[in-house]
């Protein structure tokens, strides 16, 4: 372990977003966290990173040399992919497979709309080249390209004037050495452009998904490499010598060198870091025992809301997800979109029925009340009209809001809904928020059903700019166990970056009978190779890492079954190479989901996985001073809640001490969000500054 990182006084988490770049400075000696939001610079995000660090360093009067670690979250990979702005690439495929990107998985994105089109292929057909290089399903070489074919392919690539090349050979996961050999032959002939083998990015069968992974990595890589170099240079110049780590889609981080080579790992790092923070807080705060049982993280931002579930201190993962209209076949934190964000538009259809979304005013022009050209009322305008947010203190007073324009627009909505009376704008706003909450709740229940989890076991943890504002309205609709509002909801992903360990996943497709009494030598051999790869990786990941370990899992099925079950292989079972115990874990998992085990059929193993985890020295979380039994409110605000206008006490977050107890309804104004608790809820602040709220009135006014 690097002494300087472990003992350094400061660490900084940085999360670059579209509008703001968020910072969390952790002072390990002073046991405090300092937050900062810096406007982003989309043309060169590293400028906002440097500027924000400069502001923090000057404000807190610290020595740049005392910063021992910087963990950075970037949306560069995601934005490059969604906007198709990556490097110009060519894709080399096996003979007969030129249309892998055209055919994709053959599905239309929308089967109801006959005006719909399909996704734009990542590489146009004119830059996909066939090479006579092919393996059989068991990995034998079926055709090997001769020198002339390689020369010809290289010449055609040169003529295409590309900046990156990916190679995707059919069945390559069954013989990755062959694909690497072909790549090396092409690389020799093309010294000025990087050639990427599909299996070095992700060695799992499913050629379309693997090809997308390799091509994405190849097209993002030049941009990411430039960006990280620029960032590193700027920080060094400023006197920050701390190692930089980059957050990843699996809720972990990677060294800057690995991130440069494998930018695809950072694709969905933003939402993953938020879930990592929620998981960390739940399992370290006073609600520790609760947090370990289950956390439902709820991230509500400007355009949409996401949820994720963590159980036992570990986020849920999925091996298949999407980035825009492209598949991503890698383990990522399993995040589900559940609908509206603060910018979602409130409207009525031709029949006078109230709708919220799916269109959003986003951050630009934003809600009507921003006064930046928005013409349609949004969810944020509803909060404002009801009095939940304070027009002068929204986002710490940085964004003045025009309440009158929001009310005017919502009065028009009320008229279309046939709502009458002086307070009709507020009634329309309340109706719109109810539509929003019930629709989110329904989507949430669906997401839970897919995972077989019951909401009653879960703690709802809101973050994002609107999360704490809307969380209790949502909790009125889904009966969760409790709600925990963390201290700095608006810079949550930056905090998540600081709590994450180094993590990388390794995979090997491997289809053979399993636990049939033959010892499974080759299965364990393959695991050994994966373990070696994982260990080589983790020891090269920098000397900040303390303890490191490997996690094993496998996908197994009954012979003849059409789908796999993923089975965690406990450490001791992996060490003992005990196939029978792995089989027993599979039978148990099958029994849990399907209610029976099949003792007649043999087993077949299809995928082996190893995750390497390197622990980053633990973050010291701040401790709050003891508070008196009843904190002082800073005043009251008139809020329209459940059809009546009520004077609701307003607190400042900084005034809340450990042990403070407040009963809803109440408001807490923070510089990054507003917390709004409904009547019937009581919240207690814990020693880490989390507000733990429970429903004290189960048969409240909602029933």
């Amino acid at each position: 372990m690097n002494e300087s990182t472990a003992t350094a006084r400061y660490r900084v988490g940085v999360d670059v977003g579209g509008t703001f770049t968020d910072f969390v400075l952790a002072d390990q000696v002073g046991q405090r966290l300092v937050y900062h939001k810096q406007p982003s610079v989309p043309l060169d995000p590293s400028e906002a990173v440097l500027e924000g660090l400069r502001v923090l360093i000057e404000r807190e009067k610290i020595d740049p040399g005392d910063i021992g670690l910087i963990v950075h979250g970037t949306t560069l990979a995601l934005n490059t992919t969604i906007q198709r702005k990556g490097a110009r690439a060519a894709l080399v495929v096996s003979q007969g497979n030129r249309d892998v990107l055209e055919i994709a998985r053959c599905r239309m994105p929308n089967s109801y709309d006959f005006r719909a089109g399909k996704e734009e292929p990542l590489v146009p057909r004119s830059r996909v080249l066939e090479l006579p290089a092919r393996l059989s399903a068991t990995g034998e070489v079926v055709s090997r390209p001769n020198e002339a074919a390689l020369d010809d392919t290289a010449a055609r690539i040169r003529a295409l004037d590309v900046e990156a090349v990916a190679v995707l050979l059919i069945n390559a996961p069954m013989n990755a050495a062959f694909e690497r050999e072909v790549v090396a032959s092409l690389q020799d002939r093309l010294p000025h452009v990087d050639v990427t083998a599909s299996t070095t990015i992700w060695s799992e069968i499913r050629e379309y998904e693997r090809g997308i992974a390799a091509t994405l990595n190849a097209t993002i890589q030049p941009l990411m490499s430039d960006y990280l170099s620029r960032l590193e240079d700027k920080l060094t110049e400023y006197g920050i010598a701390a190692p930089i780590y980059v957050t990843t889609s699996n809720g972990g981080t990677l060294s800057i060198a690995t991130a440069r080579a494998r930018p695809i790992e950072t694709m969905l790092s933003g939402p993953a870091a938020g879930v990592a923070a929620a998981t960390h807080i739940a399992s370290t705060g006073e609600g520790e025992g609760d947090g370990l049982l289950g956390v439902l993280s709820f991230d509500m931002g400007g355009t949409s809301s996401d949820i994720a579930i963590s159980m036992g201190g570990e986020p849920g993962y999925t091996n298949h997800t999407h980035v825009g209209d492209l598949p991503l076949m890698m383990p990522v934190v399993d995040v589900s979109a559940i609908g509206a964000g603060g910018g979602s538009i409130v409207w009525t259809d031709a029949q006078g029925v109230l709708k919220v979304g799916p269109n959003s005013a986003g951050a630009d022009p934003g809600p009507i009340s921003y006064g930046r050209g928005g013409t349609a009322p949004t969810v944020t305008d509803c909060y404002l009209t009801l009095g939940i947010i304070d027009p002068d203190r929204f986002l710490g007073g940085n964004q003045k809001l025009d309440r009158a324009s929001a009310e005017t627009a919502l009065r028009e909505v009320a008229d279309r809904l046939g709502i009458t009376g002086e307070d009709r704008a507020a009634r329309a706003a309340e109706a719109a928020l109810l539509v929003t909450s019930t629709s989110m709740a329904s989507e949430m229940l669906k997401a839970l059903a897919q995972k077989g989890v019951d909401a009653g076991e879960l703690t709802l943890m809101p973050f994002g700019g609107a999360g704490p504002t809307h969380a209790f309205m949502l909790a009125e609709e889904v009966e969760v166990k409790n709600v925990i509002v963390p201290p700095a909801a608006g810079t949550f992903c930056a905090l998540g970056a600081l709590t994450a360990d180094v993590k990388r996943d390794f995979v090997r497709s491997f289809r053979r009978p399993f636990a049939d009494g033959n010892g499974d030598g080759d299965v364990w051999e393959a695991f050994t190779a994966l373990e070696q790869e994982a260990m080589d990786f983790i020891v090269g990941e920098g000397d900040i890492l303390g303890h490191h370990y490997l996690q094993h899992s496998a996908e197994i099925r009954y012979v003849g079954q059409g789908f796999d079950l993923s089975v965690t292989v406990p450490r001791e079972v992996a060490l003992e190479r005990d196939s029978a115990k792995v089989a027993e874990h599979f039978h148990m998992a099958h029994e849990k989901t399907y209610g029976f085990r099949d003792t007649e059929s043999g087993l077949e193993i299809t995928t082996l996985r190893v995750r390497a985890v390197g622990e980053v020295p633990k973050l010291v979380m701040p401790k709050l001073a003891e508070g008196k039994a009843v904190p002082e409110s800073s005043g009251t605000r008139s809020v329209f809640v459940k059809g009546v206008l009520a004077d609701v006490p307003v607190y400042r977050r900084d005034d809340l001490g450990a042990g403070h107890r407040i009963a809803g309804p109440f408001l807490i104004d923070q510089s990054d969000t507003t917390v709004f608790a409904m009547p019937g809820w009581t919240a207690v602040a814990d020693r880490n500054g989390n507000l733990i709220a429970t429903r004290t009135d189960r048969n409240g006014a909602t029933k």
């Binding site: 998985r105 053959c106 709309d113 057909r125 004119s126 539509v435 329904s442 229940l445 059903a449």
Partner: protein
């Protein structure tokens, strides 16, 4: 509009739809077979007391079954108690709720304080329910009894307990009893989720609100649907399309519709459609409006108003006439296993007739065939036969006004995912030599039809058989509109590129051996608008990307390309010459030369008289009498494709023979 507060309508509408989707997720998570896990050939919904769906998922399971009617099945059971579950897969006894044997439909009554409040519904396509062939479906079945075990509506569960007698029958009559029971359990799990969700909604919002929303949601959908359908101008529209043949004879199957529109009320009259066939292509609609007849309407309504709630109310403005004893309203025991293939053509038929009313909205015909290419590979060691789908194949989509058709995709009747080559090769004894797009197959047009998919694979098993369920559009090409040309017809070639190469035509079952290759070329979508109006640079781009050959660019579009560039002068001359060469008015409907030849020889009027005469005979004998009629009228029409146009080359002689045959039939 409705009696419910419009805010509550939106809230309950969202909640109930989400409840049906949650049921779907529960079913998929615990389902046992690939049909459930991957293909998602299952459904969940909530039905009102009459058996109409008032809440239906938007994003999980089969999308097209909204217009199924559970009413007859419910009315067949008189004493419903809490904890009961009804099962049926009988197309005739359920009056078209189930439409072939593998589809098991379950209904569970939901109660509130002793009162019946609605029904949960779920269905799954079971892997096998017995019958003549594995998987229970074969086009050459000619009566229901060959298609497996049929269960008229009866109780699968009573008071929460399994009816073991029913389970025993199922186990004893299926090749895959464990898988079936597993999927039935998953369906029950889904129904129980729905029951809990409905009960929570009633607890929260009250029973009155629930009962009101049950009908208000349908009324809301009806109003929205009618607003869309009003865009169809008042009047009468007519369209005819054909399936190549019924596999047991050479004669095409005619589908006909006359649509009458009046202020958003749509009547679809299928009179003129051919009698039921002695193959498994019949769709058991029971002569009522039915999901398989109205699926294209869902896409129309959802395209023009995506906020329409998906429930039975959206079909209320639509009524139908479907003569009994036709392929769209067969009489028991006509076989129905492959009704899907006919449904694909009904979809084209509706697309065509709607296109006459809404030419700016409706696309040209899509490929019109969905083919799961199946290999039954023999394993000499065990003597077993391994049956698996190599790839589900689709054509291209039809071109639209303002946009080309989609290449290699067609979701018009279902939106199935394909299988990765690497998965296929690891599980099935084949090598996939080519899997890609089929150049030059998209119908030429100002907007080009989408190209079809091409698959070439080699058999690696010692021996086996290829099954080609759903192969269509060999003869009658996907039609183009408003000057657009038809898409390329389907082709299947055994051992392509060798001296033994043979065009197999439509396959029922084809024996193959190790080393044989099979090439399946799916039809392209029809074009839209005059190809001569397609901008040169788009034609050039298609050639550069390989969607078009230079020959087709020149022959169909008049664009001359040499050395990767458009030769503007030559293009100008060619396009001018082509303009002069063609008739003064562009064809609004171009189905290709085979259909033209057929229409020239077999007039609408003659078919109308034939079908009228056949209707005087018993339903079971119509098919045979129709064969006799065509055998006398078209004596030259035999097995090989090349003879189709030659058999039709003397329309006058054909008409004379037809008159005689018709007279004989009438006596």
């Amino acid at each position: 509009m409705t009696s419910l507060d419009s805010v509550l309508l939106e809230i309950l509408g969202n909640k109930l739809r989400a409840a049906t989707e949650e049921m779907g997720h529960a079913l998929q998570r615990t389902g046992r077979t690939l049909y459930v896990k991957e293909t998602a050939d299952f459904g969940t919904a909530l039905a009102d007391l009459d058996g109409h769906f008032f809440a239906y998922p938007r994003a999980i399971g089969v999308s097209g079954f909204i217009d199924l009617d559970c009413g007859p099945t419910l009315r067949a059971i008189s004493d419903l108690e809490p904890g009961d579950v009804i099962i049926t897969n009988h197309p005739y006894a359920s009056e078209g709720l189930a439409t072939h044997a593998p589809d098991a439909h379950l209904l569970k009554p939901y109660f509130h304080e002793g009162e019946l409040v609605c029904f949960g519904w779920s269905f799954v396509h079971l892997s096998d329910v017995g019958g003549r062939v594995p998987s229970s479906i074969s086009p050459t079945n000619h009566e229901l009894y060959q298609e497996g075990l049929f269960i008229p509506p009866m109780k699968l569960m009573r008071d929460g307990e399994w009816n073991e007698d029913v389970l025993s029958f199922i186990r004893a009559n299926c090749r895959t009893p464990n898988e079936n029971i597993g999927d039935l359990k998953a369906m029950i799990a889904a129904l129980n989720v729905g029951e809990r969700r409905v009960s929570a909604i009633i607890e929260r919002h009250g029973i009155e609100a629930f009962c009101t929303v049950r009908s208000d949601l349908q009324e809301y959908a009806e109003i929205k649907s009618r607003d869309v359908l009003r865009r169809i101008g008042d009047g009468t529209y007519h369209f005819v399309d054909y399936m190549d043949d019924d596999l047991v004879s050479e004669y095409p199957i005619r589908l006909e519709v006359t649509m009458t529109a009046r202020d958003g009320e749509i009547h679809l009259d299928f009179t003129g459609t051919d009698p039921q066939v002695e193959a498994a292509f019949n769709i058991p609609t029971n002569g009522k409006r039915h999901a398989w007849l109205t699926v294209r309407m869902i896409a129309l309504i959802m395209t023009l108003d995506p906020t329409t709630p998906m429930n039975a109310g959206m079909f209320r403005p639509i009524s139908v006439t479907v003569p009994k004893g036709t392929v769209l309203n067969p009489v028991a025991p006509a076989a129905v296993g492959v009704r899907h293939a006919t449904a694909v053509r009904v979809n084209d038929l509706l697309n065509g007739v709607l296109g006459k009313a809404l030419p700016d909205v409706m696309p040209a015909a899509s490929g019109g065939a969905m083919v799961p290419v199946v290999l039954a590979a023999d394993d000499p060691a065990s003597g077993a036969t391994h049956v698996a789908v190599v790839e589900p194949m689709v054509g291209g989509s039809g071109a639209r006004k303002g946009a080309d058709g989609v290449d290699g995709r067609d979701s018009s009747i279902s939106n199935l995912a394909n299988n990765p080559i690497e998965t296929v090769e690891s599980q099935i004894a084949v090598s996939i030599l080519e899997y890609g797009i089929r150049p030059d197959s998209g119908g030429a047009g100002k907007w080009r039809g989408g190209v079809g998919v091409r698959l070439k694979f080699r058999i690696e098993a010692e021996t086996g058989r290829i099954l080609g369920r759903g192969m269509e559009r060999f003869r009658f090409r996907p039609w183009g509109v408003f000057g657009g040309e038809p898409g390329a017809p389907m082709r299947v070639i055994l051992n392509e590129g060798t001296p033994d190469a043979v065009d197999t035509g439509r396959i029922d079952m084809l024996s193959v051996k190790r080393g044989d290759t099979l090439t399946v070329l799916m039809p392209g979508g029809g074009g839209y608008g005059d190809p001569l109006e397609r901008p040169e640079e788009l034609v050039l781009a298609d050639v550069a990307s390989g969607f078009l050959s230079e020959e087709t660019a020149r022959g169909s579009y008049g664009v001359v390309i040499s050395e990767g560039r458009v030769d503007s002068a030559a293009t100008h001359d060619t396009r001018d010459a082509m303009h002069l060469d063609r008739p003064s008015t562009a064809r609004n409907f171009d189905p290709g030369s085979n259909r033209d030849a057929w229409d020239a020889a077999i007039s609408n009027d003659m078919v109308a008289r034939l079908n009228e005469a056949l209707m005087d005979h018993g339903a079971s004998s119509r098919s045979r009498r129709r064969r006799v009629f065509y055998a006398e009228t078209l004596p030259d029409l035999s097995g090989s494709e090349g003879t189709f146009t030659s058999a039709l080359s003397d329309p006058d002689a054909i008409k004379a023979r037809a008159r005689k045959a018709l007279e004989a039939l009438s006596h």
